[in-house]
């Protein structure tokens, strides 16, 4: 059974009275029951809870009126590192296997206030650490285009679910590419907002100076509609800022120019010999399409971008090592079952048993780079390199470029198990997306083709800070000109 709805069409039909939130929920839940298990997208699928949420949405519509609710009746799947009060929030980890969130993330409040409702919680790489969703304590997620392949990560569940039409939109989180890369692997749209424009309150922290929550959708317009609701300064998040623009959906609807007259920069460094030839071919065609749509192409350089993965893995793991120190089995979460342990053993057994391998590795790396004697060489240095990378991006934009265009991933989706043995191989698959997080810029991935074996390839557009508008209109124009977004996996 297919569900051919989008965020936009749901809102329209809710407002027209031809759909109710419960009907929408039921349709998606029905489809989920037959498919989710194959993909392993869902953690704790709670039908009753979902229907209660749908009723809540209906109630709000009744009280406020669907016309005043920008996401009236829209069901949303939530990555399991975002707190939904009363619901399990596991972060894909054994150490939070049974943890129930005690408060709602700000984004959840905003979505519900806008008439949307929570449909379920999604699988992910443990604590958002991974690029393939193979690091979950609850089993890997599979790519709906080919079950032997990874959906990308860490928001693998989010991307696979949306691609498989188990919801019109899912929330993911992006620290080094975790929304964009899985969006690209699953042939859908994924947007990482400018750092600070979407509240992180309620997002279980991984890399605090890099994390952002963002939408994964089937098309650009839907992403704009959800962004309208997600963005906004939050008193609970000291790093959040008021987006100076907003009104993304409206601006998109009113935009007539699209890519006409825009200058799109192509950073040389992303198109070198390291690029998979199939990805290269798709991107070549995409660049041509972008030109056809009226944009001017300009070659630019980001001289320090090759250091981005190194800088990222110092900064993100350092912050993560501190963020994950709270998981100690004392106040909540998993505690070792062994009896008669000393305090030290309690800490060590709990954490060693509760965390997976990748998480432990990154905690140790982060601990090391902050440790006495190494701070200057690693953490301090990485932050300086980060500033250089930010300035590179700024310089590129200053040279008259409106958008940068790159592949989202240097490779197409890979097979489950393919990259597990070599830590670097996995880390390097983030090379196109990581710099965007380091610089705090907004970035979007849109589908731009497929490999010969039918696997999706994504293109990334990057805009200056607070320029989601340009990002969205550019992506929208490309989407209209090419229609890759209309394809669905056959699942």
């Amino acid at each position: 059974m297919t569900v051919n709805l989008t965020v936009k069409s749901i809102v329209q039909q809710i407002r027209a009275g031809s759909l109710t939130p419960t009907a929408v929920a039921e349709a998606y839940l029905q489809r989920t029951k037959t498919i989710a298990q194959k993909l392993n997208t869902h953690l704790h699928l709670d039908e009753a809870a979902a229907l209660t949420e749908a009723k809540g949405s209906a109630q709000r519509i009744k009280e406020i009126g669907a016309d005043r609710l920008p996401l009236a009746g829209v069901p949303i799947l939530i990555k399991d590192n975002i707190c939904v009060r009363g619901s399990k929030t596991t972060c894909g980890s054994k150490i939070l296997e049974n943890y129930v969130a005690t408060y709602d993330a700000t984004v959840i409040k905003r979505l519900r206030d806008a008439g949307a409702f929570v449909l379920g919680k999604l699988n992910m790489d443990e604590f958002a650490m991974g690029s393939s969703n193979e690091n979950s304590a609850f089993g890997p997620v599979r790519n709906p285009w080919n079950l032997d392949y990874v959906p990308g990560g860490s928001s693998g569940g989010s991307a696979a679910a949306v691609a498989a039409r188990l919801a019109p939109v899912a929330l993911g989180s992006d620290t080094g590419g975790s929304i964009r890369q899985p969006a690209s692997f699953c042939g859908i749209v994924g947007l990482k907002p400018t750092y600070g424009t979407v509240s992180r309150f309620g997002l279980v922290a991984f890399g605090s100076s890099l994390d952002q929550i963002g939408p994964l959708t089937c098309n650009v317009e839907d992403a704009a509609m959800v962004m309208d609701v997600l963005t906004g300064q939050d008193a609970n998040d000291s790093t959040s800022v008021q987006h100076p623009h907003g009104g993304f959906a409206k601006a998109l609807a009113n935009d007539s120019g699209g890519l006409k007259g825009k200058t799109v920069g192509i950073p040389e460094e992303f198109f070198d010999s390291g690029l998979d030839p199939e990805v290269g071919a798709c991107l070549e065609r995409a660049i041509a399409d972008v030109q056809k749509a009226g944009a001017k192409i300009k070659r630019v350089r980001l001289p320090n971008i090759s250091y981005s993965v190194a800088a990222y893995y110092v900064i993100a793991t350092a912050e993560a090592s501190a963020n994950l120190a709270r998981f100690d089995g004392i106040r909540y979460g998993y505690r070792t079952k062994e009896n008669g342990v000393s305090l030290k053993e309690l800490y060590r057994k709990t954490r060693s048993e509760g965390f997976g391998q990748e998480v432990k590795q990154r905690i140790m790396l982060g601990t090391f780079v902050l440790s006495s004697g190494y701070y200057d060489a690693f953490y301090a240095k990485a932050n300086k390199v980060r500033e250089l990378i930010s300035r590179d991006f700024a310089a590129a934009f200053d040279s008259g470029v409106d958008l940068l265009l790159t592949p989202t991933s240097p490779t197409p989706p890979f097979k489950l198990g393919e990259k597990l043995s070599d830590p670097l191989a996995m880390y390097l698959s983030d090379i196109c997306t990581i710099g965007v997080n380091l610089a705090g810029l907004p970035g979007i991935s849109v589908p731009c083709g497929r490999t010969k074996s039918g696997l999706p390839v994504g293109m990334q557009l990057i805009a200056p800070k607070f320029n989601e508008q340009t990002l969205l209109t550019g992506a929208h124009a490309y989407e209209r000109a090419t229609e890759w977004h209309k394809d669905q996996p056959a699942i």
Partner: protein, 103 residues
């Protein structure tokens, strides 16, 4: 390999700091993996940055005009103690229980 000697001793020391206990084989595994990653990360050394004496990553955040946001000193309703304790793996009364801390 890495210029920093990632030996078993270092792995053990870092695991200790992070309150992780590793089996002997795990130490070997992480030694290998961390060594690889660290070796890659060490390339940061070769970056020549000309950001100037005064630029510091910690003070460069936000803007000169805006300070970290502040909230008024007004009491908000706390979590009911039942909620606070509900998921405690071990408790006595309304206190979290841990093995005897030796000072």
């Amino acid at each position: 390999m890495s210029r920093i000697q990632v030996d078993r001793e270092l792995v053990r020391k870092v695991a200790d700091l992070a309150q992780l206990s590793l089996s002997d084989s795990e130490i070997g595994l992480y030694q290998e993996r961390l060594s690889k990653v660290l070796s890659y990360v060490e390339q940061l050394d070769s970056v020549h940055e000309s950001l100037g004496q005064d630029w510091r990553p910690d003070t460069a955040r936000g803007t000169l005009e805006s300070s970290t946001p502040e909230r008024p000193d007004v009491v908000l309703v706390s979590l009911p103690v039942e909620e606070a304790m509900r998921q405690a793996p071990a408790r006595i009364g309304t206190a979290f229980q841990v093995p005897r801390i030796i000072e």
